[in-house]
């Protein structure tokens, strides 16, 4: 037991030590970071709390508040499943320390349990963000007593165990029996595709769910939600006792339900360790000591020794490194493209039953040549920028290779520009996609479209440069798995903060210049963001060497 705890501590430290290093600095910057985190927690908690309050309020009015617990548990398990697909693959198989851990005199079960602890602890962080506030609000609104809050804490500890064990077992099974895992890249790519399909299906199913909310009565919705919980219960045996524990008012029933959950989790754990001992190390060793070497003669006539302009070569390298790494592809590039598609797809699905004539009638009512329309669409594009993580990880993704920038005979400013190019290109694709899809419905005048496009491009430049500056100031260069760059990197909250600030600025400018017409308002936005972009790029140019001081 002691060894498992020690090992868990070591694994956790290697996972999170870089996060600490990232946030270290003088007292002033520490205080600033603390405020920033506080703001984010309050902000996220506020949104989740507001939504929860409304749902619980609605459910209380029809005396069905217990359904909320089922839904929250379902949502938490859903997030845990989704998250643990990646975390278990990475923690179990793709962390660099496996090579050093294997020769140590440790029992297989100790390594397995320590690794699994790390995955479960990672899930607790997700849980804290999405489940704690709703459950507290539920307690307050239903006037729950101390038993509820104690049960809630125990429930939060127990919830992720079953889904994590389930996903980890599946991952281990795939890793040891499938031939594709002999190639780490291919396996990660396939996993990426599976997760992608999963997220699209999830997005689409939410869209139809949304539609029904507006069409059906509350009672029917509750029945649906109950039905959904019942359906899932069969697969996740801990939901039922946990729901009982959180909704029951009897001490005895709560105790029995908690014991039942602990019992189920414990039995699952024993089965898990039994299976893992048989299959985990087979897959791990296979993964550690196999390469994906493709032997083949280099065909000299096939343009292999081409000469490219430096910018093409450099940006090409950036894209190749981004595309060929499934984790970076999935976490940095795909959300930026996929989320707009899913959201606009949902928007389109909601219009699917409306005839072309009716659609024209509706859209003709929207004054497409006003500043409000420009601002709303700019706001939507800004919202999509939140998911653009290419620039904010441009330096960190290189890890120790980032030092190449400093000895390459190319000015650092030029290299910075090449590094933000993929972010800018992907943002441009996203802007065009959004505008094309919105234009299909709204039929905006060309001038409105052009204004939105130009302002968005300037905002995209600002976002790309600013995020790079942040990554330069606080790079995460020491990582043991690529996963750390995207999941244990506090910098990733900055695109969200910038987008929120920008949306606020757009709203303010619209409020103050709305009466002066579309051109004045757009002009102000363009001047403001053009000016800011000039200032930050000038700052980057003047401080190009100083900004690279952390890279060495």
């Amino acid at each position: 037991m002691k060894k498992i705890l020690e090992l868990t501590k070591v694994f956790l430290k290697t996972s999170f030590s870089n996060m600490e290093a990232q946030t270290m600095g003088n007292n002033k910057s520490k205080l600033g970071m603390a405020f920033l985190y506080l703001f984010l927690i309050v902000y996220l908690g506020g949104i989740i709390g507001f939504l929860s309050y409304n749902v619980i309020d609605g459910l209380i009015s029809i005396q069905q508040e217990a359904v909320f617990i089922g839904l929250i548990l379902l949502m938490t398990i859903g997030f845990t499943l989704f998250q643990s697909i990646f975390s278990s693959i990475n923690v179990l198989y793709f962390t660099k320390d496996s090579e050093y851990i294997l020769p140590l005199p440790l029992k297989p079960s100790e390594i397995i349990l320590a690794r699994t602890n790390v995955i479960i602890i990672m899930e607790y962080i997700v849980e804290l963000i999405i489940s704690l506030v709703p459950l507290i609000i539920y307690g307050v609104m239903t006037g729950a007593g101390i038993i509820y809050y104690i049960t809630m804490l125990i429930a939060l500890i127990l919830i992720p165990i079953f889904p994590v064990l389930l996903i980890s077992t599946i991952v281990m099974f795939v890793m040891s029996f499938s031939k594709i895992v002999r190639n780490k890249n291919r396996f990660q790519l396939i996993a990426t595709v599976i997760v992608l399909i999963f997220s699209i299906v999830l997005g689409m199913s939410f869209s139809t769910f949304d539609e029904e909310i507006t069409q059906e009565q509350m009672i029917q919705l509750v029945m649906q939600a109950n039905g959904l919980v019942d359906l899932i219960k069969g697969y996740f045996p801990t939901i039922d006792p946990l729901t009982t524990a959180l909704t029951s008012t009897s001490w005895f029933e709560v105790l029995i339900s908690i014991l039942e959950t602990i019992g189920i989790s414990f039995i699952t754990l024993i089965i898990y360790v039994f299976i893992a001992e048989k299959i985990y190390f087979k897959g791990l060793v296979g993964n550690l000591f196999s390469g994906s070497k493709k032997k083949g003669k280099v065909d000299l006539s096939k343009n292999n020794f081409r000469n490219s302009k430096l910018y093409k070569s450099y940006i090409g390298k950036e894209f190749k490194l981004l595309f060929r790494n499934p984790i970076f592809l999935m976490q940095c590039l795909v959300p930026a493209v996929l989320i707009p598609i899913i959201m606009i797809g949902i928007f389109a699905l909601n219009f699917k039953d409306i005839s072309q004539e009716e659609l024209q009638e509706i859209t003709s009512l929207i004054p497409t040549d006003t500043l409000v329309v420009v601002s709303v669409i700019l706001g939507i594009i800004q919202f999509f920028f939140m998911f653009s993580y290419i620039s904010i990880t441009a330096i960190s993704r290189d890890g120790n290779n980032a030092v190449f920038m400093k000895y390459a005979p190319v000015s650092l400013y030029k290299q910075y520009m090449y590094k933000i190019a993929p972010n800018y290109i992907i943002n441009t694709i996203m802007i065009i996609l959004t505008l094309v899809m919105l234009q299909y419905f709204l039929k905006m005048p060309l001038i409105t479209l052009a204004l939105i496009f130009v302002i968005s491009m300037v905002m995209s430049a600002l976002q790309s440069i600013l995020m790079l500056i942040i990554d330069l100031k606080k790079p995460k260069l020491e990582w043991d798995s690529e996963y750390a760059v995207v999941k244990q990197n506090m910098n990733l909250m900055y695109p969200m903060i910038l987008s929120l600030v920008n949306i606020g600025v757009i709203v303010l400018v619209t409020m103050f210049t709305g009466s002066m017409g579309i051109y004045v308002g757009s002009g102000v936005l363009l001047l403001l963001y053009g000016g800011l972009t000039y200032l930050v790029s000038n700052y980057l140019y003047k401080n190009q060497n100083k900004l690279a001081e952390k890279i060495m």
Binding site: N185, G291, S292, K293, K294, K295, G296, K297, V298, L300, N304, F305, R306, N307, S308, K309, L310, S313, Y314, K317, K320, L321, R324, N325, N400, N401, V403, F404, K406, Y407, A408, P409, V410, S411, N545, I551, M552
Partner: protein, 240 residues
């Protein structure tokens, strides 16, 4: 030619990691640089290659200051870092083409150099594979090929023999000798003392940030124990 003039560097206040380092590596020589762990070798390499800026003094590469004219200075350097794990998801040929683009190597030269170097190091047939599938030694070889593609006048090699098989190690040593013979410079950082004996024209020993000895191996033997092994001499110098 590499000229280091009165260079100092501190990471923390009042503690110099490098203290007034003066050194000149002349054209046509192989200069070996060694010292115990934490002596300041890595800091020195980082300053010569432009990764770190010296607090005081300057470094000239073929007359170009790494501080004031860094691009020209860096173009004259072929640098092999101690870790060969470079851009692992690029294919070997992509990495070499990228390096050739960064160092402005014309298409004809690059074709000939890539063939020559990769065949010499026996990785030509692996150029179509991603570097991450290479063994440590192969990675070392591809990084060496990338650094030498542009035919730089000054080679800066940080423990380049690590992971190389005996044949490749021998080939690299021969290449270093030939490079120096053609009037160019090899600045070579290493741990294995025997290598110094075989190929270095001069050696520099750094300890606690200070250069404690510069000269030929014979001079070293004369100055310290006459009949001591290289290892004993090294220990005597660095334990002073």
């Amino acid at each position: 030619m590499i000229k280091i003039s009165n260079v100092s560097k501190s990471y923390v206040k009042n503690k110099k990691s490098i203290d007034s380092l003066d050194l000149e590596v002349k054209n046509g020589e192989i200069f070996g640089f060694l010292g115990p762990n934490g002596a300041g070798k890595t800091t020195t390499i980082r300053m010569i290659t432009g990764i770190l800026n010296p607090d005081e003094g300057d470094i000239l590469i073929d007359g170009n200051s790494i501080k004031t004219n860094p691009i020209e200075a860096k173009k004259a350097i072929g640098f092999v870092p101690d870790s060969p794990d470079m851009f692992l998801r690029l294919k070997g040929i992509e990495y070499l083409n990228f390096m050739a683009d960064v160092y402005d190597v014309p298409v004809e030269t690059r074709k000939q150099k890539i063939e020559e170097l990769t065949k010499k190091f026996e990785i030509y047939d692996d150029l179509n594979s991603q570097i991450q599938s290479y063994s440590h030694g192969m990675r070392q070889k591809i990084v060496i090929c990338g650094a030498l593609l542009s035919e730089p006048k000054n080679w800066i090699l940080d423990e380049p023999m690590t992971g190389l098989d005996p044949k490749s190690s021998y080939d690299l040593k021969e290449m270093m000798k030939a490079h120096a013979k053609s009037g160019k410079t090899v600045f070579f950082f290493f741990f294995v003392l025997e290598v110094a004996e075989k190929i270095c024209d001069r050696v520099g020993i750094i300890n606690k940030g200070k250069l404690v000895f510069v000269g030929t191996l014979e001079e070293m033997k004369e100055k310290f124990k006459e009949n001591g092994s290289l290892e004993e001499l090294f220990l005597e110098i660095t334990e002073e």
